[in-house]
């Protein structure tokens, strides 16, 4: 079947394949879904930065209450109606983007950092250190992550930072396992043996030869995880552990809306849909990135 492999590069000796950014971008653009994901992500990031400023009722975002305007159904003035405090749901939802996106970024970044350090050391060192670190990782994985995050968040007390920290502490094992697997895979690569044969120091081997070749799957996992991190943040808010009012947050908004169902159903629609679209955006983007950066990990 040797020539089948050659189909992709029928001119193996002549003009070796150009696998550059241009080609990746071309493939990314080919996939309409990836483009939708990129567009959605862009919109979400836009609202994360400017949502508070663009909100039609900034005073509501700041915590202002207008009891006279309680539970107004959707109208031109309030496209998604008003809530039990008379606040404009659209404004709160727009402003809520910031907390969700920041928390999502925070969780994924901290999780990646801890996970990469743990997995990198475990995979590179091997032996008993690997054994200890991975046992600990597996142990953390057996604890249901949402309950772990809830317990930590509850113990640390309310607040944005505590919530992000709590979720991150239940988030890193996935990265540790991914990075360890990648490092072990890369460690067996011939070019790593070549570097060792030259006499490269272990640090050089790790930072120059192994880690740079593990970056793609990590980036892909980060973009896929963003959506789930945002969902977890909202989940904590929904249960009532998380950011305290008046800071607008989608999960808390949904939780409040639930108390007035089914008659006042519209207060749930904007935050729920925003959450859904945000996660869809990050997932589509992640899928697209995976297809171009890490075709092996396609599952």
């Amino acid at each position: 079947m040797s020539d089948v492999a050659d189909i992709s590069m029928p001119h193996a000796e002549a003009a070796p394949r150009r696998e550059g950014l241009a080609r990746g971008w071309f493939r990314f653009r080919q996939s309409r879904l990836s483009m939708v994901g990129a567009a959605l992500t862009f919109v979400v990031l836009f609202f994360a930065v400017f949502g508070m400023m663009l909100a039609p009722y900034p005073e509501h975002v700041a915590g202002g209450i207008e009891t006279g305007l309680r539970f107004l159904p959707p109208s031109w003035a309030h496209p998604f109606g008003t809530n039990e405090l008379g606040q404009d749901v659209l404004s709160l939802t727009m402003a809520g983007t910031t907390v969700s996106v920041l928390a999502g970024f925070g969780v994924v970044l901290i999780g990646t950092l801890i996970g990469t350090v743990m997995g990198g050391i475990a995979g590179f060192a091997g032996g008993w250190l690997d054994e200890i670190l991975m046992r600990f990782t597996d142990l953390t994985l057996t604890i249901p992550s949402l309950i772990l995050a809830m317990a930590i968040a509850a113990a640390l007390g309310p607040g944005f930072e505590n919530m992000v920290l709590a979720i991150s502490l239940s988030w890193w094992p996935g990265y540790a396992r991914l990075v360890r697997g990648e490092v072990i895979g890369a460690r067996e690569e011939v070019y790593v043996t070549a570097a060792r044969a030259i006499g490269a120091s272990p640090t050089r081997v790790l930072f120059r030869h192994i880690l740079p070749n593990c970056v793609s799957p990590i980036i892909v996992k980060m973009s896929l995880d963003m959506g789930f991190a945002i969902l977890t943040v909202a989940g904590l808010g929904f249960i009532g552990i998380g950011v305290r009012p008046p800071t607008p947050e989608w999960g808390t908004m949904l939780s409040n809306a639930r108390s007035y169902m089914p008659d006042i159903w519209w207060t749930a629609m904007a935050p729920g849909t925003a959450m859904f679209l945000t996660v869809v955006g990050f997932n589509l983007l992640g899928d697209g990135l995976r297809d171009i950066l890490d075709p092996k990990g396609r599952r």
Partner: protein, 342 residues
């Protein structure tokens, strides 16, 4: 000489890719008769494997397309058959063996199951394979046939080995199982794509001897695809040399290897070190294989050929006979006397 078993006529194949349309096969012609073992040789990317897969119509299309050409099997044009009709030919009339014996067997199924599946599928189209047995009877007959086939390819204790999984066999043994699988439906044409490339030399010799014996016993036609001229010399009766999607020289092995007429064939042979080659005197072939998306006009070998002239860069040379059964696609073939003095 009997009727042609397989006749490939001017087969063209293109592949679309990111970089453009690659002209992978550029008018391949080949005729195989019963009892002949054709070696198809060439370097990677020359289109030899795609030629083999095209005969079984196993090239995925798209991206592949066949703009022109015919493949006639006992007179029927395979290019016009439906997938269903084609499937009826596979295994029963045309058998195939691939390069890597470790990946070509299903790791989760017993050897016996895999052999029996193929036998039953073949019996579906040609009931004589299991002497017309039906239902449970057919399964039993297929099992017995599987044992006989394994014995024929030299696996001892065949009945017991039917219940083994592929990973319990060595590479050479697995290739024997695959040969048994390819032959269990009694095909008339066997296409073997680099069947020994993944094996050690000593095992390679055994497998090639096995193939030769089987062809003699069954009066089949064989296409042996390889990059190794030594394997061709050892095994084949005829050879077709391919370069960049073209057959450039065909003929009986003795003829072609003793008196290679195409400059590429000669270069290929000169690149292999032999007993007589002195240190530092091996002749490499300068230049690179052409880009099949933008192939050079005329003869595709011309840019690397030291005999090329203006005419070579104009139009592709047609196959011209030089001796009995020996043809070459070259405007300036090397004639016998020159070879002798080279």
């Amino acid at each position: 000489m009997g009727e042609a078993l397989l006749q490939i006529d001017d087969l063209h194949l293109t592949m679309s890719s990111f970089d453009g349309l690659a002209h992978v096969l550029n008018g391949v012609s080949l005729t195989v008769r019963r009892g002949e073992i054709w070696g198809v040789v060439g370097e990677s990317g020359c289109g030899k494997s795609l030629t083999g897969l095209s005969i079984s119509r196993l090239v995925q299309s798209p991206p592949a397309r066949y703009p022109a050409g015919a493949i006639r099997f006992e007179g029927r044009n395979l290019m016009s058959l439906s997938q269903r009709e084609m499937q009826a030919l596979r295994g029963t009339r045309i058998g195939m063996i691939f390069q890597d014996p470790t990946t070509n067997l299903n790791p989760t199924l017993k050897i016996g199951t895999q052999l029996i599946d193929v036998a039953l599928a073949a019996a579906h189209h040609d009931s004589s394979i299991l002497s017309g047995a039906k239902g449970r009877e057919a399964r039993r007959a297929a099992r017995a046939l599987a044992v006989r086939m394994l014995e024929q390819v030299g696996i001892t204790d065949a009945a017991a080995r039917l219940d083994s999984y592929p990973h319990e066999f060595s590479g050479g043994m697995r290739q024997r199982v695959l040969i048994a699988m390819a032959l269990i439906g009694r095909p008339d044409l066997l296409i073997a794509d680099e069947p020994t490339t993944a094996l050690d030399v000593s095992v390679q010799a055994q497998i090639l001897a096995l193939l030769r014996g089987i062809v003699a016993d069954h009066d089949m036609g064989v296409i042996l695809i390889t990059h190794n001229l030594g394997v061709v010399a050892q095994t084949c009766s005829h050879v077709a040399v391919m370069y960049a999607g073209n057959v450039v020289e065909t003929g009986p092995v003795a003829q072609v290897i003793d008196r290679p007429a195409h400059p590429y064939t000669r270069a290929l042979m000169a690149a292999i070190p032999t007993r007589e080659t002195r240190r530092g005197e091996l002749q490499g072939l300068a230049g690179t294989v052409p880009d099949l998306i933008r192939p050079p006009p005329g003869c595709r070998f011309a840019p690397r050929c030291n005999r090329a002239t203006e005419i070579c860069r104009g139009q592709f040379p047609a196959m011209t006979p030089t001796a009995a059964g020996h043809s070459v696609a070259c405007y300036h073939p090397v004639i016998e006397r020159e070879v002798a003095s080279a």
